[in-house]
Subunit: 217 residues, 2 copies
Amino acid sequence: MSATREAVTNQDGAARRPGRRAANAEPYTLASLVEVAAHAFLERGYDATSMEDLSRAAGITKSSFYHHVSGKEALLRGALDRALDGLFGVLGEPDALEGPPVPRLRHIVRRQVEVLATELPYVTLLLRLRGNTETERWALGRRREFDQAVAALVREATEAGATHPGVDPVIAARLLSGTVNSLIEWYRPERVAVADLVDAVERQVFEGLLGGLRPSR
Amino acid sequence: MSATREAVTNQDGAARRPGRRAANAEPYTLASLVEVAAHAFLERGYDATSMEDLSRAAGITKSSFYHHVSGKEALLRGALDRALDGLFGVLGEPDALEGPPVPRLRHIVRRQVEVLATELPYVTLLLRLRGNTETERWALGRRREFDQAVAALVREATEAGATHPGVDPVIAARLLSGTVNSLIEWYRPERVAVADLVDAVERQVFEGLLGGLRPSR
DNA sequence: GTGTGCCGAACGATCGTTCGGTGGGTAGAG
DNA sequence: CTCTACCCACCGAACGATCGTTCGGCACAC
């Protein structure tokens, strides 16, 4: 199928020796191959995707593929790194660190949705992990850190009396994460604009499906 | 490890020839082996779980396992059948068929949560499908039918003016399904009672995390 | 004897990975 | 400039391991 090498953001740490390859082609960086791999993993799942599939998607043979990548797990690791960097970057933003809990929560939810939408294949991979290998367990641990940071904010909000009376902050935080993370199951950038998605998620999470002042039943 | 054969609801269609096996042991029905398989799939994922794993969990060798089950895909099919039967059973209940859209939606959400909680491994399997085989694509098609039935109700509710003004019914339905389905990622029956879960999900879906001025119920 | 539950062994296929080699291009010496 | 030695992206073939599945036979209850 399609070579899938168009317009790769060449964000490889130390640029590969230039001038060696033919002038027209761009080199196979780790990041570009991680991108190819992540899209394949997204479609078929990690286990069901073979290195043969990946190398064919990259346009070279399996053995050539190994010239650029140390192995399958390195591709997974690279994709998970990218996803986790995006998520933890949100937690470090000023609006996520300062102010009352509810506005901070709103900011995190909105930005988290943006990260999910822009880094969709990578985050999808992160959210589908089962913890079968050491790499997967490491990523699951970091993901749990993120969830716990959000859960702490939800608890703050409930203790401040900002939520519905009777809301269990633990369950509420789980449902919050679940709602946001479930985007990966259906969201496709070409169908819905990111800005619309962000607004819709924020409203549904904080105000619910039904109106606040309107009679709900 | 534990044999995992305790108290299996023997709901195998045509009961296996009884009285042949030793008097103390109960036979390996398809349903009981599907249960074993579903729990293993839940932990490690379908592809990462080998028939060796399954047979060992059932307490017999791999070749003996094949004496009772036609193959791996049949176990998947059995589990998916059970999940889909539970979900479509909800759609057929009177409270899901009659009345204004919002109460019907509330009933479906509450009952859907109950089904997810009680049939957790089976529904989890259904929600993690990637569509790699014909069986998986069939199940994904049926699951899409369910989602579309719920989406149609959400659209009815918005057209009746019952929801927030400006709510996109398509996105709202996706988020609704996502919130409910995300239960499989964290819910464990021994930690939270089903009744509490049902109430929490209903409130969060319809009234949101913050909610209006008045108490929800 | 007969049938059934169970098992060890092995099947072909496919997996991720390795290895030796090749061909075209560059860099350096003349 | 030409010649040469080298480098490296790339490839075909094969590795051992593991997969799902099959087969022939053993033991025991009827």
